[in-house]
Symmetry: C2
Subunit: 412 residues, 2 copies
């Protein structure tokens, strides 16, 4: 009784044919990949770029490649590509290291920019690493962490304006896919004299971020989700240009030095955003990320967002049409919905495994969340409908209750 | 008049034929590569391993690879391979991040282990990043940095036993190749109640380190020099097992958590050395390093060292025989000489460039050092002699004074 959904999927895929970028990716046959919010798919061109970096640059040209293949400049060069994707003018983004390290850096830098202030606001529902890293920094700098959901932050900030050094939020909730009001919270933070720090892991490459327009102070994000940079791809950090002079990098590696090859004994930070660099960057991983970002060449993130919204709206509708009693926790409101649709179910882990056995790759987040990640460039409305139909068959066949799924994989 | 050196090179190469591992590397024709102490050559097998990681693991198996290809365990698994090379029993080494970040971690951890102590000893001739990172940590934890050369440390420590929290030295001087007395300085530090921290960048893979035997507390090293892991390869950190319970990781990323997928809001460090992990590791760079380390399969580092000593001894002798007035700053004493031979010359930069034009790749270190790095596994005594003869021709032809070399490359 769902033939109208097939027709609708076909209509929508025709309507959005102009933003179908699947040909820019290598994807295995028979798989509907709804986990691009954990590890983005492999873009065409990465294999060749990495092979060239290994065989020709490293193997043949050897150490000269720091100059001749501009390895040295890669963190800033790739940073400029990311900058365009997150709405930053040139000179404010560098790439490298992990998101955890980048988050550590911006928190430390924020503490140094707001001496004497003692509170930092964070979301109790943050991806855990954000809270873990923050707890370490707070212990070092003497901050007290106040757990305040992002939508309560403006009210909180209006009351406690003198004590808050920074707000440190994720743009999108990793479980529900809820998009928080980045511009509004940023303004509220500034009105209270606080800095606004944002983790863009679940928004960079998926929806327009407009860091400059929103007046964000510091931000970080990862390269391996919607930027498709490969497993553990280098992270990025954004430092608003007005803060470049006062950004203190806690990890004073030589790649952030004003004159790294002077080998001077004293640390002197670079005047530009490269002061946020640490040690020698992981070139092979950086080369993969750089090649992957070519997916975005000639592509406006707004068009990716339009496609994503259509896909997730259709996915939500199909779930509610076809799955009796489904509990969709991702917002119905387009403005509040990121690029995923989360379903809550007490047997979520079994559902994810049973879907996997049917070629639909989603992921599980403890304790009861099935995350259906929607990386718009390589997915279609037909994929959405296929995934929902597989879910229906899983549930009808009680496949998710298979005792084999009682034992969880190490990495979930 | 140097035919006896050809004969000697041939004899020595025959004598050391059993440790010639050149067949385990891909090296370009016509190049004598004396810069493996900056970027090690490409080992056979890396290209295939990286391609497999990109195409099959990432591209085809996608996010499942965290389990099915054991990406999650890579930092500890590769750490065990490095552990054997640096003389550490299992369970004390993890790989990932940059050397700068690893150095930052061990300095912070040391401060937390020695609360109330206010001094840290460092070598004024350290590779600059070690001093830069230390200056940042010192400012955070309230340390005063005392610049004391490693060979003066025992005397210093005997006088100032109550105040020193840690000594933070490099095993080998990056300019001269001087090997410092790691066991002796470690004992002196312990006698003063201080911790011994060592940077092994210029010794790991080049000479036996014997961390456990020496009682070293914490150590770090890079993957891209004598370990041949590729440009910006992940670094490693060693935490002596007796310190695992008290090692406080300043960067509390979720990969160092006791139960990362519990997604608990509170940070709880892993009980084992994986507590030193930070965020999601750069898998492609890790895969390259893991494949590169197969060079050491079935190889005792002592045999690499024996070959290296013969090569550098012969190189020193040939320089002194054939280059009038040569100023070799690397020690003549085998026990004090690392795996390089440094020559001081006021036109060092021009010499390095002119040698390069002749296919001999060395490197320049400001202001006046020509570094001839000797990565023993893929070099021969004949290579040493060839390099010296090219140097003679450069100097005789005054090629190093070419005005083109007045402008230095960005990365030197």
């Amino acid at each position: 009784m769902s033939g109208h959904l097939d027709l609708r999927a076909t209509e929508l895929d025709l309507e959005h044919a102009g933003t179908d970028l699947r040909s820019r990716f290598v994807l295995p046959d028979g798989v509907t990949y709804l986990d691009g919010n954990s590890l983005g798919a492999l873009p065409v061109g990465v294999e060749g770029a990495v092979r060239d970096a290994v065989v020709r640059q490293w193997g043949h040209d050897l150490v000269d490649s720091w100059n001749t293949h501009a390895w040295w400049d890669a963190p800033a060069r790739v940073g400029e590509v990311v900058a365009r994707i997150v709405g930053a003018a040139p000179g404010q983004v560098v790439v490298g290291d992990t998101t955890s390290l980048r988050w550590y850096q911006v928190l430390h830098a924020a503490a140094a920019m707001r001496p004497g202030r003692r509170l930092v606001l964070a979301d109790p529902a943050s991806f855990p690493t954000d809270l873990y890293v923050l707890s370490g920094v707070a212990a070092q700098v003497g901050w007290t962490v106040e757990l305040v959901p992002p939508d309560d932050a403006p009210r909180y900030l209006a009351k406690r304006d003198v004590d808050v050094a920074a707000v440190a939020y994720s743009h999108v909730d990793y479980r529900t896919g809820r998009v928080w009001d980045l511009p509004g919270v940023t303004v509220a933070a500034h009105d209270a004299g606080a800095l606004a720090l944002w983790d863009l892991c679940h928004s960079a490459g998926a929806l327009p971020v407009r860091l400059d327009d929103a007046g964000v102070d510091l931000a970080v994000g990862c390269g391996y989700k919607y930027l498709n940079g490969g497993p553990g791809a280098p992270a990025f950090v954004y430092v608003a240009s007005r803060h470049l002079g006062s950004f203190e990098n806690p990890v004073r590696g030589w790649h952030g030095h004003a004159e790294p090859f002077a080998m001077a004994p004293e640390y002197a930070p670079a005047a530009d955003v490269t002061r946020a660099r640490t040690g020698t960057p992981h070139i092979l991983s950086l080369v993969a990320l750089e090649a992957a970002l070519r997916v975005f060449e000639g592509v406006d993130v707004a068009s990716v967002r339009a496609r994503s919204l259509s896909l997730t709206r259709f996915l939500r509708d199909a779930l509610e049409d076809l799955v009796p009693g489904v509990d969709v926790t991702s917002p119905a409101d387009d403005a509040q919905r990121g690029s995923q649709v989360a379903v809550r179910h007490e047997a979520a882990y079994g559902i994810v495994r049973a879907l996997h056995a049917r070629g639909v790759v989603a992921d599980f987040r403890t304790p009861d969340v099935v995350r259906l990640g929607v990386a718009a460039p390589y997915l279609t409305h037909a994929d959405m409908l296929h995934a929902v139909r597989q879910l229906v068959e899983v549930l009808e066949g009680r496949e998710h209750l298979d005792p084999a799924y009682a034992v969880r994989a190490k990495v979930t």
